[in-house]
């Protein structure tokens, strides 16, 4: 029996040079429409007056308790056995509930396909035996991708060896599968999601968590 996978990405933000190769690679791989992105780089400081000091890449965290899944009225968004949170394009009605339900602002409504969309760790590539587009293209290999359930996999080993942290929203913990090296500066950009009133959320969501792990 093949073991269940649990895909994860570990990010060493100190290595990111903000070249945005990962953003363009993703855009091409996944046909992301103009004006939208599935991944991004958070920059500390920036535009007016203050100076940049760190660049922090991110994308959908393929959460274990995904609020987006809970917010979907038609179960178009669901979590797969391999850990990926995906959207069934046939089922999605494009209501956008999940878009505001994500604490990481990882989702958008695709204006062309008229459905919700987001990063799926390039599932098509995984099936072809390739790593996600953002991972392979990176000049400094800031992201490391792999299967947490495979003890031989670099990510599983890094979780054991390194001090890692996660980015968790102020009021809920969706149990993300993206990890950052401890010392990463910007760990505060997640927001309290806006959940639609008619969606009932499991109680465990509403725990107060400040830092994690």
């Amino acid at each position: 029996m093949t073991q269940r996978k649990k895909y994860a990405i570990i990010i060493n933000a100190a290595k990111c040079i903000d070249c945005k190769a990962c953003m363009i690679a993703c855009k091409v791989e996944n046909n992301v429409p103009e004006g939208f992105w599935r991944n991004w780089i958070n920059v500390l400081g920036g535009e007016n007056g203050s100076v940049r000091t760190e660049f922090q890449p991110s994308q959908c965290m393929q959460c274990d308790d995904p609020s987006c899944v809970a917010a979907c009225p038609v179960q178009a968004t669901y979590k797969q056995d391999n850990g990926l949170v995906v959207i069934d394009p046939e089922k999605c009605i494009g209501c956008g509930n999940c878009v505001t339900a994500c604490p990481y602002k990882a989702r958008y409504r695709d204006p062309v396909k008229k459905i919700a969309d987001k990063c799926d760790f390039c599932e098509d590539r995984l099936q072809r035996g390739k790593e996600p587009a953002c991972v392979v293209t990176c000049p400094t290999k800031t992201r490391v991708f792999g299967d947490m359930n495979d003890p031989a996999d670099p990510v599983a080993q890094m979780v054991k060896k390194e001090k890692l942290v996660q980015i968790v929203a102020p009021h809920i913990n969706t149990r993300p599968n993206i990890y950052y090296f401890e010392g990463t500066k910007l760990l505060d950009w997640a927001v309290t999601p806006m959940l639609p009133g008619n969606v009932s959320m499991p109680r465990e969501f509403w725990k107060t968590v400040s830092t994690v792990k």
């Binding site: 070249c19 945005k20 190769a21 690679a25 091409v28 007056g49 072809r128 293209t137 400094t140 010392g183």
Partner: protein
């Protein structure tokens, strides 16, 4: 500028990676096949994908790539993990290459100018009409003004060699490259010191001081990636730059040095190293010449003195000098790339070269290297002799030590405008865009207006094409077969790469190799191009059959193994056969044999110095209109320090006037502490004249419009940091 004087950032603590992983970033092998296709994993029906090797051409680095082709459409470009020079990466521009191929703004067929130059009125021609017309003009101008009356200019491209060969067969000495707008003064300085242009082994270096270069934004492979790997391995990076670039942001220390004073900094570093005897005496004795002269010469350049010039505290200069010496020979002054900044830019780079020599890093791990390389063969061209030709290039003698084979764009343009020493009335450009990259755009327009005929071969309607009389469409790099191209890659040594067409050429586009062959036929020069690309490659591969095999299997040929310690006991190719701290050659030409510091011209009141630079999403003017990259940057801005902006009442985002003696533009201000109060900056590649570049037409401003055209006295390289501008509200 007291405010910036002590400002320095020292904050980066590196996050350690576990051994196994750190090793896997040092050698590029990231593309593990992770998960095989399994039946029970809910696999969707996936289309068949064909994978084709090629090399990126979105900038000059030629990173290895694997095109993903689905139903004859290039869907995606993936990095080639076997390409050691690019360390298995493709940058944002490399990923956006699909939109160079599938770009609605591409040139589709030959065009003849109908209205006035630059008016944008065109008439479609067939290829036969276009080539007949071009050949007729080449013939006419050659007869009337001699063959040297036609100027050829080709950018950095694997087919540019054919433009050069055509120019030789046609009989013109007037061939220039883009390089005189870029890095020739750096090459000059290192060549005249070491007899060769060495490559920095950033990967193994323990202490890198980077004056001016912005390696995390202006990507040079493998230096960009190696710098990060080196820092991960605890090497130290010190950046001197008037701007807070992303390289500065990630450095251990950043000093907003006063522009134009880098030489003062390095002469003071030399003074400390020499006076405190921090150098390797055996190395200095065995490998350098002129040490005693240098010792005397730098006595005057104390750190206290340099502090006044550079705005960098003397104690830091001293400390950095000692730290460098301590880390030596695995320490370096990074030579940089673009050096088109000051009128003494060669001498500035000489000061870098000299400090490197004092660090004894020549041929050392983590120092300056000359890797082994393979040299592909070439078709031998016995150029015909044209009796009526003048003796030399049109720009000959206009700089003290110009590279004859590169020329100088600035001096050539001046000579053409003057009509002396002889008239030049024709111009062919291939994939280079001096209208955007050559300082003083108005002068370029003036020069074009003196010509009888100008033709441009390019992929899109660049500003240079916009001014031409005949515009010929070239295919992108994904649609053509190229010759082999050798590259140097420092610590990973070097290699060879090539391209085959990933997909057939679109529209009526034709490679420049085909174009020059057709022109040659029409000019009775057909015998010089009596071969196909396959023949050419065969000739290139004659003595290196192993290259062909590797390229077929891996898409790239890498020479591996350490590239240091290769020159033990070998003489240098200089007059003294040693590293020339003191250049007798310069002396004999009346040039300062050691760099003599002159303060940069002081900035007049109410003026700012404008500097040139780059970010990671643009290759000067060649990529700003790209559909994908344009999303990252839709226009450029003038960076202005908040203090200066406040004094002028300028707000962030406000459209302002920028004026110099060369021209005037309007552009939005970006009010930011990321530049010094006395320095302003804008990206290259906007403010285009060509409204066929539909994404960026009407957006931002063109820096070439306001840059005055000065030149480095020694090499004739353009000097682009000598311009002062005023800025004002509209």
């Amino acid at each position: 500028m007291a405010a910036t004087k002590t400002q320095m950032i020292s904050r980066r603590k590196f996050l350690k990676l576990s051994g196994a992983l750190a090793a896997s970033t040092a050698v590029a092998n990231p593309c593990r096949v992770l998960y095989a296709l399994t039946k029970d994993s809910g696999v969707k029906n996936l289309n068949e994908i064909r994978e084709v090797f090629s090399a990126c051409d979105m900038c000059f680095n030629k990173c290895g790539l694997i095109a993903q082709v689905e139903n004859d459409i290039v869907k995606k470009l993936d990095p080639n993990p076997k390409s050691l020079k690019s360390r298995g990466m493709l940058c944002a521009r490399g990923n956006a290459g699909v939109k160079q191929l599938y770009d609605p703004d591409r040139l589709k067929y030959p065009l003849l100018r109908k209205g006035a130059r630059g008016e944008g009125k065109w008439q479609r021609l067939s290829w036969d009409q276009a080539l007949d017309h071009a050949a007729e003009q080449l013939d006419k101008i050659g007869k009337q003004y001699t063959r040297c009356g036609f100027l050829f200019m080709a950018g950095t491209d694997m087919q540019s060699t054919f433009v050069h060969q055509f120019a030789e067969a046609y009989g013109s000495y007037n061939i220039i490259s883009h390089e005189s707008n870029c890095l020739l003064s750096r090459n000059r300085a290192f060549l005249d010191t070491y007899g060769v242009m060495p490559t920095p082994d950033v990967l193994n270096c323990k202490y890198v001081i980077m004056p001016g270069a912005n390696r995390f934004e202006a990507i040079v492979t493998p230096d960009t990636m190696d710098l990060m790997t080196a820092m991960e391995n605890k090497s130290k990076l010190v950046v001197l730059d008037p701007r807070f670039t992303k390289t500065a942001a990630l450095a251990d220390e950043w000093y907003p040095i006063k522009p134009g004073t880098d030489m003062a900094f390095f002469l003071a570093v030399a003074q400390v190293i020499i006076s405190e005897e921090l150098y390797d005496k055996t190395f200095i004795q065995e490998k350098t010449s002129g040490f005693e002269e240098l010792r005397e010469h730098v006595k005057q350049y104390t750190p206290q003195w340099a502090e006044q010039e550079t705005d960098i505290p003397a104690k830091d200069i001293k400390r950095i000098a000692r730290e460098l010496a301590k880390a030596a020979p695995s320490a370096m002054v990074y030579p940089g790339r673009r050096s088109s900044d000051y009128e003494d830019s060669t001498q500035i780079r000489r000061s870098y070269a000299i400090v490197n020599a004092l660090l004894g890093n020549w041929d050392q791990k983590g120092g300056l290297l000359v890797p082994k390389k393979v040299k592909p063969g070439s078709m031998h061209l016995e150029a015909p002799f044209y009796e009526d030709n003048p003796d030399d290039r049109v720009d000959a003698g206009m700089a003290q030590m110009m590279f004859g084979e590169e020329g100088s764009f600035k001096h050539t343009r001046d000579a053409i405008l003057k009509g002396e020493p002889y008239p030049v009335k024709g111009w062919m450009t291939y994939k280079t865009n001096p209208m955007q990259t050559g300082a003083n755009r108005n002068k370029t327009i003036e020069m074009i207006n003196t010509l009888d005929f100008m033709m441009t071969v390019d992929i899109t309607m660049s500003d240079t094409a916009w001014m031409a009389d005949l515009v010929l469409p070239a295919p992108s790099y994904l649609e053509r077969q190229d010759p082999l191209s050798a590259f140097l890659a420092s610590s990973t040594c070097s290699g060879v790469i090539t391209r085959d067409a990933v997909v057939p050429a679109m529209f009526e586009s034709k490679p420049v190799f085909w174009i020059v062959k057709e022109l040659a036929k029409r000019l009775d020069l057909g015998e010089f191009f009596d071969y196909t690309m396959d023949d050419f490659r065969k000739e290139q591969l004659k003595k290196i059959p192993e290259v062909a095999k590797a390229i077929k299997e891996d898409g790239v040929y890498n020479i591996t193994g350490p590239s240091y310690g290769l020159y033990k006991g070998k003489p240098f190719k200089t007059t003294s056969k040693k590293i020339e701290l003191y250049s007798t050659r310069y002396k004999s030409k009346g040039i300062d044999p050691m760099p003599v510091y002159k303060s940069p011209k002081s900035i007049p009141e109410n003026h700012f110095r404008i500097v040139v630079g780059r970010n990671a999403y643009i290759t000067q003017s060649a990529s700003t209109n790209n559909n994908l990259l344009w999303e990252l940057q839709k226009e450029n801005h003038l960076w202005v320090h908040p203090e200066s902006a406040a004094a002028l009442g300028i707000k962030d985002g406000e459209t302002i006037n920028v004026k110099s003696s060369a021209g005037k533009v309007t552009i939005k201000a970006r009010v930011t502490k990321e530049t010094r109060p006395d320095t302003v900056y804008m990206d290259t590649g906007f403010g285009v004249m060509s409204n066929w570049l539909t994404n960026i037409a009407g957006k931002g401003a063109c820096i070439a419009e306001i840059l005055e055209d000065r030149a480095d006295i020694i090499s004739g390289n353009m000097a682009m940091h000598e311009t002062f501008v005023t800025i004002s509200k509209i």
